[in-house]
Amino acid sequence: MQRQFDWGRFLLIAIPFLWLLIFFLLPFAIVVKISLSDTANALPPYVPTLNLSEGWSGITSFFSQLDLESFAWLLDDKIYFLSYLNSLKIAFISTLLTLLIGYPMAYGLAKAPQRWRTVLLMLVILPFWTSFLIRVYAWIGILKPEGLLNMGLMSIGLIDQPLAIINTPTAVYIGIVYSYLPFLVLPLYATLEKLDQTLIEAALDLGCSPIQAFWKVTFPLSLPGVVAGCFLVFIPAMGEFVIPDLLGGSDTIMIGKTLWSEFFGNRDWPVASAVAVVLLLSLVVPIVIFQRIQERQREAEA
């Protein structure tokens, strides 16, 4: 009986554990390894490949052939540095913009009458389920020079020449804010909804104006939600590919796009892997901070 139960527990842990080791952790080890390899005109397009049939000498020659050439290449060519910097800038600005639109929205949701809330929350979640690609595509028709936005603005006489929005960073900001808004609103709403109303009433009784009460009580208490939401926008926005590719045009370089074209365009697997390693390293800090906050909140709730 005891033995049987132990087996069950072992398998329960081992099966998902092994799956993640093979399909999540091992691939990253391979990325690191290939980032240290050299490009070759072969299949697969890199050397060295590990040859275990040669025994120990095969292993040592494998390691001696690894070098940092791809990383040196990243430093040499300005395009890589510029794409990291640009990704950082675009991710940062669009996170701020998302917060500016998302905070009033989450606040409004938390204040909305109880009977509307389920429906309103559903309306926030629904776009998250509909295809990302389709939602980005929808904006092309709106932002084009002969698109709906320019047509509308020109017909009411606000502008007399179409605005150039598509293929600029502005279009990328719009795309990111639009796609990631639910990611920020949902955790923020969860914090605002749990907020103790009596604290705000106390602030008002003690002579705060509603605006002062908001900045002194509501906003500081909602910070965990703000931080969680901002990370959920910032981290994926850093590595975003679809939005800069479809809305940003060729002038908007971002790191996800550079990795993609290095891999699919130039077929340079070692450099693509090196780009991935650097992107991963630059995301480790925000990801770890994010996990810490999540854990602390889970502990606080438990």
Partner: protein, 264 residues
């Protein structure tokens, strides 16, 4: 005191935010019924793009591949993700727990270009032919983490004493799970499956990296068409996908809400 009242400011910000979220989608749907080939100029009502969509064999083949990948990967992901959720909420301490939870939650925030590249390099290194199965394996790995999040939040919130009672009354762990725990977390498992299914249906980046010749998925097809310019057939296809997913999500949330009301 009127602080807790719903004010004009709240209403305005909700209206603006929801118009921002929904206007682009509504315009996309509207222009799928446009008779004109110019996607942004209205030329009268027509359903001809839907007809030509269904006659387009490339789209139909891609849709079939996508559907097969989504069903199989969502099912695998639901089994693995539920197991992982039980491990994280019920098993207690074990060696490597920190690594395990790290691996479960990391794919949620990992940029897709990295996950896609990493999985492709794995498949090349072990010599697996790229195609239908590699996309399925990749999607299973990505979506199982979402299933874990959904299922573990349900496992955390329900009354553990029910499980303990079943064990006290002589159930084995396995039968306690299937007779007590499983029915209670079933709505979350279904929600997890649906989430995994739609995520797989949607994915462009990871599928592009891990697919091979002959296994083009629908998002890959849409992407290559969109790069060539606006296309009314894509509007029609998008409308159908949005409709399908919206109806599915609304039904699923009604079902799970009713199930929760019965349980609590």
């Amino acid at each position: 005191m009127n602080v807790s009242r719903f004010s004009w400011f709240n209403l305005t910000s909700l209206i603006i935010a929801f118009s921002f979220l929904y206007l682009p989608i509504l315009l996309l749907i509207l222009f799928s019924f446009n008779a004109s080939k110019l996607v942004t100029v209205w030329g009268g009502f027509s359903t001809k793009w839907y007809v030509s969509l269904f006659q387009n064999e490339m789209f139909m083949t891609a849709a079939w591949v996508t559907l097969k990948v989504a069903v199989v990967s969502a099912t695998l992901a639901t089994i693995l993700g539920t197991m992982a959720a039980i491990v994280l909420t019920r098993v207690g301490r074990f060696r490597g727990r920190l690594l395990f939870s790290g691996m479960v939650y990391s794919p949620l925030v990992m940029p897709e270009v990295i996950t896609g590249l990493a999985l492709l390099l794995l498949f090349v290194a072990i010599g697996l032919d790229r195609g239908y199965w590699t996309i399925t394996l990749a999607h299973t790995t990505l979506t199982m983490c979402f299933v874990t999040v959904v299922v573990s939040s349900r496992l955390v919130s329900f009354d553990k004493s029910l499980e303990e009672a079943a064990l006290d009354l002589g159930c084995t762990k396995l039968s306690a799970f299937f007779q007590v725990t499983f029915p209670i977390i079933l709505p979350a498992i279904i929600a997890g499956w649906l989430l995994a299914f739609t995520l797989s249906l949607d994915d462009l980046v990871i599928a592009s990296f891990t697919s091979g010749p002959g296994s083009t998925t629908l998002p890959m097809k849409i992407y290559s068409q969109v790069r060539l310019g606006l296309n009314p057939e894509i509007n029609a296809l998008s409308t159908l996908l949005i409709l399908l997913v919206s109806v599915g999500v609304i039904i699923a949330s009604l079902v799970s809400k009713r199930a929760e009301e019965q349980n609590v």
